[in-house]
Structures are given as structure tokens and as C-alpha cells.
């Protein structure tokens, strides 16, 4: 029992030392949104209440364990009932709980209720990536696990922000009330950025909402927080919070990029261009299931190499990629040029001998 006492003491010392908490990431983040600090304070308040109750209860236990032992020649008392103490230790916890429930309710209502948002971002979960759309700004993109992380999974050398880096960051303005509309394209995901204290399930067929007003510029990282299949651990979230001016500039750039992509979809691409662009898109979007070598996983994910789809008529291939089938998600959110590239890559790589698909084919297949 002495060991236990020492252990409990050491843990208590560890928990109470603020320095240790900051250094080793032992505690919840205070975050950078208008709500996250309140949630942190509530968490600490409840923690210290529990800690105090623990000190009283365990203190009484250890006092008894140390002093009321037979080896010390103690004779056992015989009391075994007292309605008074039962009332006391039913009543006092109720009062403590009421004292906790009042601030908890207040923070909850603050966190859940938003009168008016300054802007909206729609977040769609996919197996296993996030799609971000800015409906008012008319821009949108996919955000995949960064290649540097994907390649390092089986290596000893890990890059900075291993598994917490993506190919395209979500960008948000500082000091702005942002409403997140969260949904899913396949299974349930959960969009979580600890620093914003935003964590909300993405349910297929339903739209949930959450909001945050972020008070500090910076880069913040999060992860999917609901088991969503094989690569649940490999769909991180990275958000750049920038000044309102920088955000406006970024939006303009994105709109120009989108216009350029739309223009490129009308021209005819060479096979080499399609193949090169397709390889990047394949590795980011498709290799999670169908594997980088196109061999798939037998019984779960079909092979690309030598398959009837990749070597057969282009119409079937287009249909399955655009509309999905069973466990295979629909990829209609990708642009025509990107879809043409990735389909061409699948039909030409891995020793396959399918036909080339042009962006115009995708446009007419939609």
C-alpha cells in the first residue's frame, strides 16, 4: 500500500505542476477560440473538484488502512448503520454537482448557440480525406494526408508534423465568426481541431453545424475523431488562420486558379500530361485502398492492375469513378481535368492497356 501512496503522490505532483503540463503535453489545450478557453477552465474546475473529493475519500481510506489494522492490535468497532451520514453523503454530492452543472450549462449554451456567422465553410468527410467548400466565395478543394507523411509510415525517419500534415490547408480569417457545416459522403467521420474546441460528427445524409471565432493567427492541426475505416488515423486536418486581408488575397488567388482549371478542362491534353498529373492524384486519393502498386488488397479493395474496368471500355471506368459503387466513394468533386488524368493513369500504369480519357469525356460522362 505504501507503493500505492507514493505513486498517487507522484501523480498528484505531476498533475499540479503547471510547467510539466506545458512541457510534455499532459493537459487539454487552452486553444485559440473564444470558447476553447472557457472549456479549458471548466475542465480544470471539474478536475480540481474531483481531485479534492479524491483527497478526502482516499485520505480517509489510507488513514484507515494505516491505523485500523489488526497487526496494530486494533479491535474492530461494530457500527454498521447511520441514516444521518447516508443523508449527508447523498446531499453534499448533489450540492457539488449543482455547483458544477451551472457553469457547465452556461459554457454549453455559449458553445452551441450562434446567432449570426460572418462566413461559412462546408466540410465533407470522405474515406479518408476532407473536402472544404466556401459556398459564398465559390471555391473548394480536397485535403489529403501529405505525401511526406504517407511515405514515412514505414520508415524510421519521421518528418516534422508526421501524420499531421496535409497537401492543402484550410485557410480561415482571424477574429471572424466562422460557421462550419459538416457532413459526410460515406461513413461517419468527425472533424476535430483541439485548438478551436470544435469537434463534430460528420453524418452521411445529414448536416451538422459548429462554429468558432479564432483569436490568434497561426497553423492549427487536428484529426478525424470517429472510426471511419482503414485509414481513420491518416486523415488529418490543418488550418491556417490568417489576417482578414491575407484571407481576401488567398480567396482571389483560389478563384483565379479555379478559372484556370476550368479553362484547361476544355483543351485536349497529351497522354504524358494526363499520366503525370494522374499519378499525383492517384497517390493522394486512390492508393490508400488500391495501393501504390495498383495491386489492391484481395477481398477488400480490387486491383487496378489487369482489371476488367481499367482495361475495358472507358465509359464503365468513368461511371465507377464519378458515381462510386458499394464501398468505392464517388469522386465527382474532382475537376474534369483531374478526373481525366487519374483515369488515364489507372488505364496506362501497372502494365494496363486501356484507352486515354480526355477532360471532355469526363464532362460528357457527368
Amino acid at each position: 500500500m505504501k507503493q500505492l501512496l507514493t505513486l498517487t503522490g507522484a501523480i498528484a505532483a505531476l498533475m499540479s505542476s503547471r510547467a510539466a503540463i506545458a512541457e510534455y503535453g499532459l493537459n487539454m489545450t487552452k486553444g485559440v477560440s473564444t470558447i476553447s478557453g472557457d472549456i479549458y477552465s471548466l475542465h480544470m474546475m471539474v478536475f480540481w473538484v474531483c481531485f479534492a473529493i479524491g483527497v478526502v475519500v482516499f485520505g480517509a481510506m489510507f488513514y484507515s488502512i494505516i491505523n485500523h489494522r489488526k497487526s496494530k492490535g486494533v479491535k474492530a468497532a461494530h457500527f454498521h448503520e447511520s441514516t444521518t451520514v447516508e443523508f449527508i453523503w447523498t446531499g453534499i454530492p448533489i450540492l457539488i454537482l449543482i455547483a458544477m452543472a451551472i457553469p457547465a450549462s452556461k459554457v454549453l449554451i455559449d458553445a452551441e448557440v450562434l446567432d449570426k456567422a460572418d462566413m461559412t465553410v462546408k466540410i465533407t468527410g470522405h474515406q479518408w480525406k476532407w473536402q472544404y467548400d466556401y459556398p459564398e466565395e465559390g471555391i473548394g478543394f480536397m485535403s489529403n494526408l501529405a505525401q511526406s507523411s504517407r511515405e514515412a509510415i514505414t520508415l524510421d525517419d519521421k518528418p516534422e508534423n508526421y501524420l499531421l500534415e496535409v497537401d492543402k490547408h484550410l485557410v480561415l480569417p482571424v477574429d471572424t465568426k466562422v460557421r462550419f457545416l459538416i457532413t459526410s459522403n460515406d461513413v461517419i467521420h468527425n472533424w476535430w481541431v483541439p485548438a478551436f474546441a470544435v469537434k463534430q460528427d460528420a453524418n452521411p445524409g445529414f448536416i451538422n453545424d459548429a462554429w468558432a471565432e479564432i483569436t490568434e493567427e497561426g497553423t492549427y492541426r487536428g484529426q478525424c475523431a470517429e472510426l471511419c475505416g482503414k485509414d481513420h488515423g491518416f486523415m488529418p486536418i490543418v488550418v491556417d488562420v490568417v489576417s482578414k486581408d491575407a484571407f481576401a488575397t488567398w480567396v482571389t488567388e483560389q478563384q483565379a486558379e479555379k478559372a484556370a482549371a476550368a479553362a484547361s478542362a476544355t483543351k485536349t491534353w497529351s497522354e504524358g500530361e494526363l499520366f503525370a498529373n494522374g499519378e499525383t492524384i492517384y497517390n493522394a486519393n486512390c492508393s490508400g485502398c488500391h495501393q501504390k502498386d495498383g495491386l489492391g488488397i484481395p477481398g477488400a479493395f480490387p486491383a487496378m492492375k489487369g482489371s476488367e474496368i481499367t482495361n475495358g471500355p472507358a465509359a464503365d471506368h468513368l461511371n465507377i469513378v464519378i458515381n462510386g459503387k458499394g464501398g468505392m466513394p464517388a469522386f465527382k468533386m474532382l475537376g474534369d481535368a483531374d478526373l481525366a488524368s487519374v483515369i488515364t493513369y489507372e488505364r496506362k500504369a501497372f502494365g494496363n492497356n486501356g484507352s486515354v480519357v480526355q477532360p471532355s469525356d469526363v464532362t460528357s460522362a457527368r
Binding site: M28, F58, A76, T90, P93, M100, N203, F206
Partner: protein
């Protein structure tokens, strides 16, 4: 008492166990069936533990070293299912079988043939569940909570075998529960009143009602999954007018009572052990009974606290937060009563007492984190992180499993007629107690620092605590080898045990010789016997 030798002599002629292996297949005896349940549960514990070792080995270092993510998910899923339905629940039914007839002064369980059947369904259900590992697409990989649509449209064909296994496990549990209710209410000694019953009997009686209420709901959930998967219904599919969140409501309407199914009998066990080794009666017997019943009632009206992030209205979140916080009251009463029980006692610290005392402390730590999780705004940050993993392992491992191990050491002399090796028992306790905290305590920090649960790989900031946790896991896993040795050594080489091996132990089971005769009480105990052995005298 005078009837006992006659019972033993009688047994030799007509009612002794059958010879050979068929004894175990055909038996309708509550002790044989209890033994079968306990060994089955222990073997499932080792198997589920082996899965956990695989999980912790993969999480020892960042990166994927040993397995593909899909197999990792199969391991986490099967670990949960096997531990809940294969280890903890059958172990408590085994304890109930062994102990309830002896504690209520009955000769056997009320429905002995059904008792045989409810056990023998289990190995087949377990085999069906485990066979999915060898099927195309692998075992279920959607977590033990099997949320739709990951478990419906997106799951391998083997999921239908999982559904069938869950149905069978449900039959078994419901039959076990019916049998326990019938035994307690119909077979208890005529002179025994309800408020004379020992706490283990009371907690199991209440647990049985939870089982009868909860298991059919689970069966309903998996049946809806089955028809969604195979017969074109859309209960959980929004494209057909269904709702995936409805699955979670149904699942947790089973799932929350389920967690109390796994802990209430442990409360009962602890309420027997603490008084014995404190040499002092249980404090607040009747408030313990009422607290258990209150917890059981509350367990049915708090289910959605597992679902705060599914998009619930604020009013719903407030209600489920208040209802959840309320559970702390009766649970607190139980803990305070236990502390009052040992207060001013004359304690000794044999192995069962060590497990029981550490149960009170460690289970309470799990209770604290449970209270924290019930606070909705804070749950936004805790939800689906390792903080949750730490919480439910504190209540299920150092709660439910601790109760089972404490019970095994406490009643082993009665079951086997022999004493276990006390030194080894203590070594095993300290080994398990320290390693389990090294295993689970750091997971609180991991969760608070932002590590989601059910991920096979993690970013580098989580590396240190995962390493510590895995080392603790390997040490804790190894402790069960010693546990198995101690039990087998007790059965084969233990010194003969007295009828009442623990000085001031109270309870009708201690009035029987050790080992207990094949049929417990052929003549019901008298009112005087019952009063002398009651927990509140």
C-alpha cells in the same frame, strides 16, 4: 448444518458428477456450469488480452511496424467484443452460478437444463465470431460499437457472421438472467427475506433485470443491420429515409445498461470482501441495495451521453448531462459506504482484500473521469480520445475485472477445498496493480493532449506516453500467466481449506464444507442460520 454429511453420502449414490468428459457436456449442476463459465471466460480473457498485446505492440513506436491498419481495426474490434461478451459477462455469470444457490440456501439453480444450454451456446457463438478472422475481407473492423454505415454498407460479408454471433450471445445472456431471477426469487430459503440477501445476490438480481431489458435491444439493433445489409431496408441509411444516428441511439440504449451489467456484480463482490477482512459488518446494507437499484434505473435514461457530438439539440445535451451527473450520487454513496465499512475495522491484507481495496481506489478514479466526460462542453475535447479509453479501462479492468479476480481469490478455497499460495497471490497483485496503472494512467494524458482513439499510428508528440503505456501493457499481460499458475497450483497442490477459511466471513456459503458438496442445500437453512450469516448483523 447437521444435514450436510447426509447430503454427501447421498451424493455418492445418485447425484454425484458423471464420469469422464461427458460430465461437462451434459451437466445441469450449478457448480459444474459455474466452473465451465469461469474457465471459458478465462480463456477468452487470454485471447482478448493477446489481441490487446498486438494493439499495444503496434502502438509501441510511431509508424506501422507489425500490421496493416485494417488488421489493427480488426484487433481493436475483436478485443472489445471478446472482452465484453466473452470474458467479463461470462465470468460474472460463472460467479453467479457458483455462488447464488449457496448464498440463498438453495440446492441448485431453478432452471438447470436451461443453465446448461445458456453456457453451451457461448463456445459456438465465440467460434463463429472468431472464424471471421479467416474469411475474405477479414473480421469486423468497425469497433465493438459497430456504428452504421461503417458496419452496414461498408463492411465485409463476414459481418453477417458477427450478427449471428451477437444473437447467440444475447440468447445465452437472457437465459442466464431468467435463471438467476427465478433462482433468487423462487429458490431462496423460505425463511430468507429479500432484505436478508447478501449484496452479491442483490446486485446480480438487479443486473439480471438490466440484462433482460438491454439484450433484446441489442438483438434489435443487429437485426436491423442484417436487413439493411441483405434485404434492402434502410433503417440506418439516409438515402432510403433512415438515419445513421438512430443506430447509435439504439446501440447505446443497450450499451449504457450494459456497462452497469458489467460493474454491478463487482460492487456485490467488494461488499462481501471488505467486511470480512475489516472484521466489521458492511456499513449501510440497505442504502447499498437502494443505491444499486438507483444506478440500474439511471442507467436506462442516460444513453445519449455517448453521443454528445452527433448533432443533438442543446436541450437534449443539457438533459443527458444532468442525468449523467446524477449517477455520481448513488455511486458515491457506495464508495462512502465501503470506506465507512473499513473505518475503525481491524484489517488484515490477504490477497482478496488487496484486490478489493485497490478496486475502490481505481474504480473511483474511473468514476472521476466518467464525471468529467459527462460535462458536455468538456466532452467536446475528451470525446473519442484516449481519455475515454483510459476512463473505460479504469472502470472495466480495475473495476469489473478487479472484482472478478478478487472474487476468485476469496471463494477459491470454497470451490476447490484448498488454499492458494498467499505469497504468490500478493506478488501477483502488486505486479498487476502497478503494471495496470503504468498501462492506463498515461492514456489520460494522451487523450487530453489530443490523441484520437482507434488509430494504428500517431504523430510524434504522442510517442513517449504510448511507449510507457505499451510497456505497462506487456507487464500486465504477463501477470495473467502467474494468475493461471496460482489457480492451477491451488487446485493441485493447495493445503486443505477450512469450511470458513476467512475468520469473520459472513454468508451461508461458509456454512457448507470446503469444497462445497455437489448439491448445495438439500434442507433449507433455518431463520437462525440466515440471521447469523446475514450481512447486516
Amino acid at each position: 448444518m447437521s444435514t450436510i454429511p447426509a447430503v454427501a453420502a447421498h451424493d455418492d449414490h445418485h447425484h454425484g458428477p458423471e464420469k469422464g468428459l461427458l460430465r461437462w457436456v451434459k451437466t445441469t449442476n450449478h457448480k459444474d456450469i459455474g466452473t465451465l463459465y469461469l474457465w471459458f471466460a478465462f480463456s477468452m480473457l487470454l485471447l482478448g488480452g493477446a489481441f490487446a498485446m498486438g494493439i499495444r505492440a503496434e502502438l509501441l513506436h510511431p509508424g506501422l511496424q507489425l500490421m496493416e491498419p485494417q488488421f489493427f481495426n480488426q484487433l481493436t474490434t475483436m478485443h472489445g467484443l471478446i472482452m465484453v461478451f466473452g470474458a467479463i459477462m461470462p465470468a460474472f455469470v460463472g460467479l453467479a452460478n457458483w455462488l447464488i444457490p449457496m448464498m440463498v440456501g438453495a440446492p441448485d439453480m431453478a432452471l438447470p437444463r436451461m443453465n446448461n444450454w445458456s453456457f453451451w451456446i457461448l463456445p459456438f457463438a465465440g467460434a463463429i465470431l472468431l472464424s471471421t478472422f479467416f474469411m475474405e475481407g477479414g473480421a469486423p473492423a468497425f469497433g465493438w460499437t459497430f456504428y452504421a454505415p461503417l458496419s452496414t454498407s461498408f463492411a465485409p460479408d463476414s459481418t453477417d457472421f458477427f450478427i449471428f454471433a451477437i444473437h447467440l450471445l444475447g440468447f445465452s445472456s437472457i437465459m442466464g438472467a431468467i435463471n438467476i431471477i427465478a433462482t433468487v426469487l423462487n429458490m431462496k430459503a423460505p425463511e430468507m427475506r429479500l432484505m436478508d440477501m447478501p449484496l452479491f445476490v442483490w446486485t446480480w438480481l438487479i443486473t439480471s433485470f438490466l440484462l433482460i431489458g438491454a439484450m433484446p435491444i441489442l438483438a434489435g439493433a443487429v437485426t436491423m443491420m442484417l436487413t439493411d445489409r441483405n434485404f434492402g431496408t434502410a433503417f440506418f441509411d439516409a438515402t432510403g429515409g433512415g438515419d445513421p444516428v438512430m443506430f447509435q441511439h439504439i446501440f447505446w440504449f443497450f450499451g449504457h445498461p450494459e456497462v452497469y451489467i458489467m460493474i454491478l456484480p463487482a460492487f456485490g463482490v467488494i461488499s462481501h470482501i471488505l467486511p470480512t477482512f475489516a472484521r466489521k459488518p458492511l456499513f449501510g446494507y440497505s442504502s447499498m441495495v437502494y443505491a444499486t437499484a438507483s444506478i440500474a434505473f439511471l442507467s436506462y435514461i442516460v444513453w445519449a451521453h455517448h453521443m454528445f457530438l452527433t448533432g443533438m439539440p442543446v436541450a437534449g445535451e443539457l438533459y443527458f448531462m444532468y442525468a449523467t451527473m446524477l449517477i455520481a450520487v448513488p455511486t458515491g454513496v457506495k464508495v462512502f459506504n465501503w470506506v465507512a465499512t473499513i473505518w475503525q475495522g481491524s484489517m488484515t491484507f490477504e490477497t482478496p482484500m488487496l484486490w478489493a481495496l485497490s478496486f475502490v481506489i481505481l474504480f473511483t478514479i474511473g468514476g472521476f473521469s466518467g464525471l468529467m466526460l459527462g460535462i458536455v462542453p468538456a466532452d467536446i475535447q475528451y470525446h473519442d480520445t484516449y481519455f475515454v479509453v483510459a476512463h473505460f479501462h479504469y472502470v472495466l479492468v480495475t473495476g469489473a475485472l478487479w472484482g472478478i479476480i478478487a472474487a476468485v481469490f476469496y471463494w477459491l478455497p470454497k470451490w476447490t477445498g484448498r488454499m492458494y499460495n498467499e505469497t504468490l497471490g500478493k506478488v501477483h497483485f502488486w505486479w498487476a496493480m502497478i503494471s495496470v496503472n503504468v498501462l492506463f494512467f498515461p492514456q489520460h494524458f494522451l487523450g487530453l493532449a489530443g490523441m484520437p482513439r482507434r488509430i494504428p499510428d500517431y504523430s510524434l508528440q504522442f510517442a513517449d506516453f504510448n511507449y510507457i503505456s505499451s510497456i505497462g501493457a506487456f507487464a500486465f499481460g504477463l501477470s495473467f500467466v502467474l494468475f493461471a499458475y496460482i489457480v492451477v497450483d491451488c487446485i493441485r497442490n493447495g493445503k486443505p481449506a477450512d469450511a470458513r477459511p476467512w475468520y469473520s466471513a459472513k454468508g451461508l456459503e461458509w456454512t457448507l464444507p470446503s469444497p462445497a458438496p455437489y448439491h448445495s442445500f438439500n434442507t433449507p437453512p433455518t431463520r437462525a442460520d440466515i440471521l447469523a450469516e446475514s450481512q447486516h448483523s
